[in-house]
């Protein structure tokens, strides 16, 4: 008798398809980079090389345009905490670059631009 599993209806997911969040992050719940926020913008650097895990590689490939950590989480269907950890790894490894400047130092002129933009929506 062969040990084949009964065919699963298409589209149905079993518990085995689900990768636990802590597996992706190696058990970490916080990013090494404490300066990362969910809205922090990151972008792939031109020479992002190295041996990357599947999840890391997906993120690097998805960030050629600047995007926030929250967008990375939403796009790749991973919990925000996982995205924070993985993006932190990639920033540390030099594959992603933080393009963010400190919002507290935002100038009044930037606020004026924001007001004008919302008005024009």
């Amino acid at each position: 008798m062969t040990g084949t599993l009964p065919p699963r209806p298409p589209g149905e997911r079993s518990a085995h398809d689900f990768v636990r969040p802590f597996v992706l992050t190696g058990g970490r719940t916080r990013s090494n980079d404490a300066s990362l926020h969910m809205e922090t913008m990151v972008q792939t650097v031109d020479d992002a090389l190295g041996r990357l895990t599947f999840e890391h590689a997906r993120i690097v490939d998805g960030c050629w345009e600047p995007r926030s950590v929250a967008e990375v989480a939403a796009e790749f269907g991973m919990p925000l905490g996982v995205a924070m950890v993985l993006v932190g790894d990639l920033v540390e490894a030099g594959c992603l670059e933080v393009t963010q400047s400190n919002p507290v130092e935002l100038e009044l002129e930037a606020l004026t631009r924001m007001i004008e933009r919302v008005r024009a929506l």
């Binding site: 926020h37 913008m41 989480a73 925000l80 905490g81 963010q100």
Partner: protein, 188 residues
């Protein structure tokens, strides 16, 4: 060399079902994205999963939208998870936020107190937007302000979260409020 793109974060807070996602949808240039924050140990005692063997995680969904200002500045609008017991997430959510809109429903004003207290304690600039539902009585703004115990220095406005112009007005009110606070901080 990558171009420098900075983002700012605005937060929409308020009780469960007060219209936060509708508010975000009304102005976001993308359909609101949802990200999940997996249940952490903070809620372990509350979300008792021990009686439900299949229930391995509880997730908190956060909706957010995006408005691109120009090629160097992006605004994100995050809705807070509505349930009060997810308030532990608010620190991550509100850390670094430029300001907040507290959405209030006059039928359940009490639901707004958590958000009001939170932003006041953290010195996060905020405005109150009273979201009107078809079935709710339209109270004059001064009465709502009194009921909420909000000082005159904080803008309180009417809002219809389904209406783009109304949501735009709420955002502009918040941004103008932040502008005024920052300018007055510069001028001694």
């Amino acid at each position: 060399m990558n171009r420098r793109v900075t983002s700012v974060k605005l937060v929409v807070a308020g009780g469960f079902g007060v219209g936060k996602t509708t508010f975000v949808s009304a102005v976001s240039e993308i359909p609101p994205l949802t990200t999940e924050a997996a249940m952490t140990t903070e809620s372990a005692g509350v979300d008792d999963a021990s009686q439900v063997r299949e229930k391995v995680t509880t997730t908190v969904a956060m909706d957010f939208g995006r408005i691109t200002v120009d090629d160097s500045l992006v605004m994100y609008i995050f809705g807070t998870p509505g349930q009060e017991r997810f308030a532990f997430m608010w620190d991550d959510l509100c850390d670094g936020a430029l300001g907040a809109v507290v959405l209030a429903d006059t039928r359940r004003l009490g639901d707004s107190f958590v958000a009001l207290d939170y932003f006041e304690a953290r010195d996060t600039p905020f405005v109150v937007a009273v979201n009107h539902f078809d079935s709710s009585y339209h109270y004059p703004i001064p009465e709502v302000r009194d009921a909420l115990g909000v000082g005159l220095h904080i803008p309180v406005i009417d809002c219809d979260a389904r209406d783009r112009e109304s949501v735009k007005y709420a955002l502009i009110t918040l941004l103008q409020h932040v502008y005024d606070l920052r300018r007055s901080a510069l001028v001694p």
